[in-house]
Symmetry: C2
Subunit: 138 residues, 2 copies
């Protein structure tokens, strides 16, 4: 049982670092109503699709270490929305991953707090132009 | 007063289509605790930063039309999380914008339902490789 949204989030990134699929799936609500968007990936819905995606990602044996920054928490007593920066490195290597912005949503359910949404996307490069400067419509 | 998260969402995209900054800001909670991530943009926090970003985006007079698809709603009685596809076109033109995935979070407050988080990011191109196939760490 996770006692808070922060506890779930810690377990999420710990499972990710360890490449532990079972621990990763214990973080999520067991429901059709979960949503996961990996960076530049499609929206995945429900436990089966979300589990398959993590199985694929965690099957890569590269050791990851997460430096989480700038966490902001909003929401209510039973649904908490965390936004934060994920800075990922591979210990002992120069392997570089671009930093990500994640929106993680947690809900208090009968069996404690669980993750219900993870949406991660690339952060802008430092000094890059504002979103509409290149003619984007949004 | 918005009576539901769906009402807020309709008003959000209507304001976006009309380029109506005041209507756009009436959709949002009036709070430091709002978060907005435009596609490939940084995380913006609080009414002032969020308003400035919309002022910038909506100052572009191009008429946008949103085709919203595949809305999924999760959450509780007082916080609703919508994920959906945004397909944007410019009526009468061939101007193309890549489709976006949005996570929109709404909360029931004393003055009705309001938006508290908008996180939009590019959808993958059809047939593109899965997230980790290019060596990404997430």
């Amino acid at each position: 049982m996770f006692a808070s949204s922060l506890d779930v989030e810690s377990a999420f990134y710990a499972a990710f670092e360890r490449g532990d699929l079972d621990a990763m799936m214990r973080v999520w609500a067991y429901s059709f109503d979960i949503v996961c968007v990996h960076p530049s990936g499609p929206r995945l819905e429900g436990v089966d699709a979300v589990r398959r995606s993590w199985q694929h990602i965690l099957s890569d044996p590269v050791p990851r270490s997460f430096d989480l920054r700038a966490r902001l928490v909003v929401g209510s007593d039973d649904v908490r929305v965390h936004t934060l920066e994920e800075h990922i490195c591979v210990p002992g290597s120069q392997l570089y991953a671009p930093p990500l912005l994640a929106t993680n949503v947690y809900q208090r359910l009968d069996d404690g707090w669980r993750m219900i949404v993870h949406h991660a996307s690339l952060m802008p490069a430092p000094g890059s132009a504002p979103p509409t400067a290149n003619g984007a419509l949004h």
